[in-house]
Amino acid sequence: MLENYLPVLVLIGIAVAFAVGSVVMSGLIGMKKPSAVKLAPYECGMPLVGSARERFSVKFYIIAMLFILFDIEAVFLYPWAVMFKRLGMFGFVEMGVFIAILLVGFIYVWKKGALEWE
């Protein structure tokens, strides 16, 4: 059975060897004349604006942190959603409480102004 596929395997082997071999060979024997333009990342031929290692505003961190916090709570929604029908009203109320607690945090964050960009 399986031996029918052997040629395919061989073909794949050859393909990989060729690809790797040509990259390695060109690296080994090709001429290297690096210049600033050649080394620059390819950005559709546009000149560079500046370094990518720029300082981000701290706002990003705050937003990121808030995102993590609220995002991760969604993890509890999945199992609840799966069982929603079987849990019925009880489950609904429970999740309501959970959301309400999150809401407290949300109101706090909002009032603190953490969501405003400026």
């Binding site: 079987r86 849990l87 009880f90």
Partner: protein, 486 residues
Amino acid sequence: MENLAQIAMESVNFQAIMPSLVLCCFGMVLLLVSVFLERGRTAPICWLSIIGLVVTGIISINGWNDPQAGFAGGVVLDNFATFFNLTCLIAAGLTILMSDSYLHREGYPVAEYYPLILFTTAGAMWMASGTDLMTIFLGLEVLSVSLYVLAGFFRGQLRSNEAGLKYFFLGAFSTGFMLYGVALLYGVTGTTKVAGIAEAIRLMPDASSNPMIIAGAILLSIGFLFKIGAAPFHMWTPDVYQGAPTPITAFMSAGPKAAAFAAFMRVTYISLDSLQVDMSAMFWVLAVLTMTIGNFVAIAQKDVKRMLAFSSISHAGYALVGMVAWNEVGFSGILFYMLVYTFMNIGAFAVLVLIGKQGEDNLTLDGMAGLGYKRPFLGVAMAIFLFSLMGLPPTAGFTGKFFIFAGALKAGYVWLAILGVLNSAVSLYYYLRVMVYMYFRDPVEDFSWVKMEMATIVSILIAIAGVLYLGVLPGPVMELAKLSIF
């Protein structure tokens, strides 16, 4: 189809989490209120949080002798939990009392401080009443995360930053170990329930030679040992205690430590009962190591706050003696000692809160010179707390230590008791030095900046009352401690 909701509903028992539930609600409401108040107005929040603590305390006391279990056996509100709940509430109350003027003096009148303390306390209460490693873990984390913030609360101060970061990194690191231990125990026993683990281990023929159980038990213990500051997991303690805001240091050394002991005791005494021989031996070594390191290094300290941090390590060592004893006397001794320690240590820190200048650079031994004459009340208060920390009768420190050491003696650990006594003899040296500076040195400064803040004084007075009451008439409370053992 209906029975799933039925089961879930039946397992819910709000009675079992009532105290911490109330406290959390208070915390959340206060958090919301705080954002609507103008910046710098913290007094209402402060008093509301005290009310919250009192209400929680009343609810806790009502639950005495009325054990409630709930949430599929994950939580139980028994006398043991209630005793620790009250200890933590007292710690939080005393801390909050001394905090408000302190926050204003240090320039951080931020209202979130109080809800955070309430959340910490709620976490501590979950730890005390958790009977599932999951709830214990959750309590531990609620407590820790709030404490990380509180330790680094003075965000413009490098020292506070450093304290918060060190606590955070090492705390998270130890959590990793603890969780790994839980995972291993879960793998062997198939459950995370405290009682279930005990059952499974008991049924295993050679539990104490099963590497997974041993490794699991030890790694699990490490989470708790880290929180109580036992050597060699104590390294964070001095740095964090020194860098954190002083009331937080006071709180950290009492409430969370008590909670960690509570959970630790429940887990070791119930789950790991079959491993008693091995665990006791480990605690023996750690207890001696902890008290010795704490006491010896404290001798070399000039900063009083840092010295008290080392002293708190050594007191964790004394309390561990009760774990070694592994009998009712030792365990109820820990309960009692934690309460005693709450009063005496928070009291001592409260005095430091009052005599500190802004920035608190004067809390060195030299800075204490002549305090006893310039500020007689603070001098006497500090002296009482120091005597209690030394373990001299008739203060609570003596009765507490005696209680614990009696447990060790009952279990036959004479050497441990003697090492404990030897250690308290060593500890005398550095406590006494503070006294010498306070009373036998000429005042360098006039302590004119010291404002006798009413709330802080109240907290000092409560602490003095506690120390003396538990020293002279500890009978009733000891009785409660004995009744609190599961």
